[in-house]
């Protein structure tokens, strides 16, 4: 028994060691020396020391990566020259195309990425090459954004982390770091030669999309990358705008695509709604006088579009006006204490009609909008009738009670006479 026992223990120890070595994750270097970090952390200037501290929050660090995985070099020595000798693969702080190469060495490797984030895309480099940034970088422009410009270098967080510069609510600020900086953007032009504006972020902050994202916490609301693309960032281009807006505003895009404006508008939805400062549409946008947008192109009595705009505006005003009046009537009846829940329900249906009419308007033919408006008006007439009936019931009750009042007063008179009579009775 004894020799076998010793063998067993020895075998177990070997197996255990083998297991320990074999299962160490590729690239995991918690136990490995990291002289890069040790030396840099002790340096006096922030530019060299800060990355070490920042890297502690980095998602790569949490997955077991270290300085050498991106920068190369020899992490085992504290001597600067030995650590950074060319044979060690040291690349320094990569810039431009070199930077792209460093990141995509892993992030474009599907097999590698599958081990860490199976669902993450691996075509960012390809997309980037098709973007304005990527194309300019290929031409030698070093002012454009590269991976680090948006994602950071040493404190990289996952996109779903609220502190990440590419978390939905932070994206606009990240883009604006360059695009709102007039001196940085100097020299860049639009296709027509005019200087590239730097007001996009300011405009965007006036929009309903921004409000939805920041105030109402609706993370599905669009920010820069939702319309321009992530890594393949570029303006949508002529003819494609309605498609882009239509990814969310599908019904409106469909109606617009079938309308007379589709072949005419170069910029699609943007012609009326703007591109960055997309404010909540108001009834005033439609019509034949300022501030309606229709008059930018339409005018004159012989312009069917002008007449159409006028008709549409009239119809909408009528529906909205009647709706407001009837709502006020029903509210009055309700506050007085009458039963009007059926009418309130019906008013909800009329409001539906208004919403549908506004959608239908984007087909730009009054003929399809008018039936919806008329339906709404018809329903309002019925509701108003019921509302007036409810108020009439109040005065009906009045009359009923007034009658019973008469009866009581007659009784009071009779009682008075009886009292007189009784008083005349002799009593002890």
């Amino acid at each position: 028994m004894r020799p076998h026992f010793r063998l067993t223990v020895f075998g177990a120890a070997v197996a255990f060691l083998g297991l320990a070595i074999g299962t160490a994750p590729a690239g995991a270097q918690e136990a490995a020396p990291n002289e890069c970090a040790a030396c840099h952390a002790s340096l006096p200037d922030a530019a060299h020391a800060a990355p070490v501290a920042a890297f502690k929050e980095d998602v790569h660090q949490q997955r077991g990566f270290a300085c050498v995985n991106c920068h190369g070099g020899d992490p085992t020595t504290a001597d600067k020259d030995r650590a950074k000798r060319p044979e060690s693969g040291y690349v320094g702080a990569p810039r431009g195309q070199a930077q792209i190469a460093v990141c995509s060495r892993c992030h474009s490797d599907a097999e590698l990425m599958r081990r860490f984030a199976p669902r993450q895309r691996v075509d960012q480099e390809q997309e980037y090459a098709s973007s304005v940034h990527g194309k300019r970088l290929a031409e030698g422009d070093t002012k454009v954004a590269t991976c680090v410009s948006c994602h950071g270098a040493h404190g990289i967080r996952v996109v779903s982390d609220a502190k990440s510069p590419v978390f939905p609510t932070n994206v606009a600020g990240t883009c604006a770091a360059c695009h709102a900086d007039a001196s940085h953007m100097e020299g860049y032009t639009l296709p027509d030669g005019s200087p590239l504006p730097v007001t996009q972020r300011d405009d965007y902050q006036k929009s309903v999309h921004f409000e939805a994202l920041t105030t109402r916490n609706d993370l599905s609301a669009p920010t820069c990358n939702d319309c321009h693309g992530n890594h393949g960032a570029a303006p949508p281009g002529v003819g494609a705008v309605a498609n882009v807006c239509g990814t969310c505003h599908a019904v409106f895009a469909t109606k617009f695509e079938a309308s007379v404006h589709q072949p005419i508008f170069d910029k699609g939805c943007i012609e009326c709604h703007g591109n960055h400062a997309v404010v909540a549409p108001s009834p005033e946008m439609l019509g034949t006088a300022e501030p309606a947008v229709c008059v930018v192109c339409h005018g004159g009595d012989d312009d069917p579009g002008f007449a159409g705009a006028g008709r549409l505006r009239q119809d909408f005003d009528r529906l909205r006006g009647e709706l407001a009046r009837t709502t006020e009537l029903i509210e009055r009846a309700r506050v007085a204490g009458m039963e009007v829940s059926d009418q309130e329900l019906a008013l909800g249906e009329v409001r539906n009609r208004l919403v549908l009419a506004r959608t239908e308007m984007h087909a730009f033919t009054p003929d399809t909008v008018v039936p919806i408006v008329n339906e709404g008006i018809e329903q309002l007439v019925a509701i108003e009738g019921a509302g007036n009936e409810a108020l009439a019931e109040l005065s009906y009750r009045r009359r009923g009670l007034a009658m019973s009042l008469l009866a009581i007063l007659l009784l009071v008179v009779a009682l008075g006479m009886k009292i007189r009579r009784i008083d005349r009775r002799p009593h002890l």
């Binding site: 939805a212 109402r216 609706d218 599905s220 969310c248 505003h249 599908a250 019904v251 409106f252 009007v340 829940s341 059926d342 309130e344 329900l345 909800g348 249906e349 409001r351 539906n352 919403v355 549908l356 959608t359 019973s404 009866a407 009581i408 007659l410 009784l411 009779a414 009682l415 006479m417 009886k418 007189r420 009579r421 008083d423 005349r424 002799p426």
Partner: protein, 164 residues
């Protein structure tokens, strides 16, 4: 009325005894009739008040949505819940669900789409699943869910929807 009149016995005003009795009875009759009719005029509304009204309790708390027999599987119908619409859905699995019929986007009234077994809003194509969660489209929040219970005699069951 002078105080003295009530304390001394008065000889009645000269009138034949027969007349006096008739007048007294007539006045008494009127009084009796008056008391009874005013009592009735008070008791009748009280009696009607005590009888429970048709809608058992405030409709904002619960409502009868439909009869079970009228709701086949994979169908939905709107019903009145207080002053807002509600949507009663019987899924393909036969299970009953009730939601607020008001789309969380712009308050349009939703409907049930049997071909995809989803709740759909016609205004801007919002889609919800049978848990009320948003599947696609502009709605920012899920549909409010209500509690569903069935009560009544077998064959004549009613579906009662309540807020909690």
């Amino acid at each position: 009325m002078a105080s003295d009149e009530r304390t001394t016995s008065n000889t009645p005003v000269a009138a034949p005894p027969g007349d006096r009795v008739e007048r007294r009875t007539f006045l008494d009759a009127i009084l009796g009739f008056g008391f009874v009719s005013t009592a009735a005029a008070i008791l009748y509304p009280v009696w009607r008040y005590l009888i429970p009204p048709a809608s058992g309790e405030p409709a904002t708390a619960s409502a009868v949505a439909a009869r079970l027999a009228d709701v086949p599987p994979n169908s939905g119908r709107l019903f009145k819940f207080g002053s807002r619409p509600g949507l009663l859905v019987r899924g393909p699995d036969g299970e009953l669900r009730a939601f607020s019929g008001v789309c969380t986007h712009l308050d349009c009234t939703v409907q049930y789409k049997a071909d995809t077994s989803q709740v759909w809003c016609a205004c801007h194509n919002g889609l919800y699943d049978l848990a009320g969660n948003v599947v696609s489209g502009p709605p920012p929040r899920p549909l409010e869910r209500f509690a569903v219970n069935v009560r009544g005699e077998p064959g004549q069951e009613e579906i009662v929807v309540s807020r909690t």
